[in-house]
Symmetry: none
Subunit: 230 residues, 4 copies
Amino acid sequence: MGINERRKRERSERKNAILRCARDLVVEYGAEKVSMMDIAQKAELSKATLYLYFSSKGVLFQEICNEATERFIEYFNSLVTPNLNALELIRLFWKAYLDLFGRSDDMIVIFSMKQYMLAEFPFFPINENPEKAESGSSFVIYTMIEKLIEQGRAEGIFESNINPGVIARTILFIFSYIVENTVKMPKSSRNVKTMLEDLKSLLQMMLRGITVEGVDRSQLLLPDLENLKE
Amino acid sequence: MGINERRKRERSERKNAILRCARDLVVEYGAEKVSMMDIAQKAELSKATLYLYFSSKGVLFQEICNEATERFIEYFNSLVTPNLNALELIRLFWKAYLDLFGRSDDMIVIFSMKQYMLAEFPFFPINENPEKAESGSSFVIYTMIEKLIEQGRAEGIFESNINPGVIARTILFIFSYIVENTVKMPKSSRNVKTMLEDLKSLLQMMLRGITVEGVDRSQLLLPDLENLKE
Amino acid sequence: MGINERRKRERSERKNAILRCARDLVVEYGAEKVSMMDIAQKAELSKATLYLYFSSKGVLFQEICNEATERFIEYFNSLVTPNLNALELIRLFWKAYLDLFGRSDDMIVIFSMKQYMLAEFPFFPINENPEKAESGSSFVIYTMIEKLIEQGRAEGIFESNINPGVIARTILFIFSYIVENTVKMPKSSRNVKTMLEDLKSLLQMMLRGITVEGVDRSQLLLPDLENLKE
Amino acid sequence: MGINERRKRERSERKNAILRCARDLVVEYGAEKVSMMDIAQKAELSKATLYLYFSSKGVLFQEICNEATERFIEYFNSLVTPNLNALELIRLFWKAYLDLFGRSDDMIVIFSMKQYMLAEFPFFPINENPEKAESGSSFVIYTMIEKLIEQGRAEGIFESNINPGVIARTILFIFSYIVENTVKMPKSSRNVKTMLEDLKSLLQMMLRGITVEGVDRSQLLLPDLENLKE
DNA sequence: AATGAATGAGATTTCATTCAT
DNA sequence: GATGAATGAAATCTCATTCAT
């Protein structure tokens, strides 16, 4: 049994090592440019070995997404305390993002891969086609955002006629595209800080767009980006 | 002379036929899944023949984009009259979109291909990398939107601290993503109308988000979608 | 009948025009890089038209060779007077070469194409396989040189144990290779004069090599290259 | 460790098997007619497999050349002893050639491929364009011959006004052309022995042509061809 | 007579995936 | 469990040649 435990642990460790290598490559070159061979080389394994841990390239990439997503969700949940209102939660959401991904290129991964994966696993449902989307934990983020917006609407701070699903999608859109455009650039000329400033100002605009008139707009400001590595 | 005319016309027609086939395939399967062979088969031509009309796959795809983009720009310009203010122009923009692409899958094309092309011709510049983007007429749309936002800012209807470039990008983001997600679905289960409703409500939200307080929000509403084919 | 004459003449003129274009291209880019399309474009004709005059690319190239070769043979024969001995004839041969090809890139053609053609029409026979070689007038040059050497052997100036065929081949070898190597260079950096100096010194060496001992070596010198364009 | 050794050996063997197949095809059909597909078929492998061993067709062909060339150089060097004069070395050169290539079609390879490769890797420099030529070991042979001629000139046996580079080129010319012409024939009607006799007599003639008067011509004779397979 | 259009056959190369050891 | 080797299927592109008008 001790042996079995160790085996399991070792297997899991190696799997993570592979995921890490793959993710680094995706961050550097963009999802569609990364081949199984590239990953194998970086992981110092054979291509065949990759297939012992992931039944296909699609699954491997899927797991990269999931890993990052789960890490985010876990961290965000750890920050949440009871009885926070929607705006407070949204500020926490942004803070979690900055804390976790903002300081590194990691932030790129989830969204960079989405496009690649989308064919088989759409990020979230459009037009009531929700079945497929639920595979993959990225759907969880979608749902989480949707819930936040719903809560705000219930609290009367967001307009009553908005569609939380649509808003959630848009927010993910924005994240995705900023990231994707960043990935297109050579790693050297990327500027994480600018990217984050863009993100922030767009999120703030979204918030203003769905907030009822009369709310003090200063409440809709998101935390600053201080202390981020350049 | 009559002969030359006819030849020219026929050639142009065949070229368009190819473009149409290619576009249909892109609409149905997404740009990255479509090969020259697929296009040739659909057009009932040999692969070699395609190269008589387009010097490479990239050029063919470029032309698909440009054609749709140019059609849109032309039509939009035909609607514009002097002395319109920013909000009026934006409503016209939306109307042009509906009139032209809203009634068919055509709307999908421009943005569906963007991702494929992006590597070589980024849709628009992020982080001061503007040189490359200007190739391709898709850049024109970006500039057009940017100008609209600028005008609105100058007219005092949009907040003074917004960055028109960022807003323009976001609007294109939104268009793109909705389209891309639609392309991922099997053609049968797509619902153009829902997609357009999404687009509309997002654009309205954007507008509210960048509009100064005090403006009557009813001014920010976009035209309805009546009369669209399902 | 007058009409028929004119037709024939016109046809012949056009044929020559095509040949001239093809030859120019071969001179500039080397035989294997020139396609039927290139020739058609240069001749301002359609590819299809080329096939009205030449049944295949091979035949067209063949005729380029023949044309240049025949021109040379004709000119050489016009210089010859009765009762010349072998060495005098060889000096005339060299002079004819200089006069005709030495002043222009034309010299490149015959041999540049040989390699390309060789597959189907070997330049000259090696190992008693003479049938094929006789097609194409390039064989005539081979025979001509062979005869010169034979004559010299009969006159007692060349060693009796040499094989005139082998010598003739070698001389053609040398011409060919110098030319081929020249064609590999970009046209700008070619130096016809150097090439000719090489040719000359190699021919002189060949002559010395097959001449019996005791003959005054100054007799074996070839005419100078004065007056050649750089 | 034994396993690794075996693997390496096997890999090397397979690589050689591919090279052998490719070389056989080149010998039989000429370099420009041989495609990767042909090689794959002959080697009973898939095209893709070839790319596991050679990163491109060019590299594969390069290696064929280099292998044969290196084998020759090595063997020649093994025959050389100190203090040989130029004529003795030249005789050794010829002997090495006979021993190594004379008995098989191998002799054909080096020169047959030259033409194919020439565009990218000219065999040797003409007109001061030496940079490119030095890539590839075939250049080594050129240099080797040049040195031999230089040495002979220094020893006073060759005329002082010859250009060793030009002579070296010519010798390679001769080798090449004889071989190339042989390749053009159907394998059945080739006659290696005749080809070698041609080569020999041409080399002897070259030697006589550059040797100063007064040297005993019997010294310039090359070893006989006895014991060669037909 | 001339040609625009079309094409079949083939070239090189890539890559996710399988399999024997 | 790990892997080197192998591959099928597909991608883009080229070119000599034919054919209908």
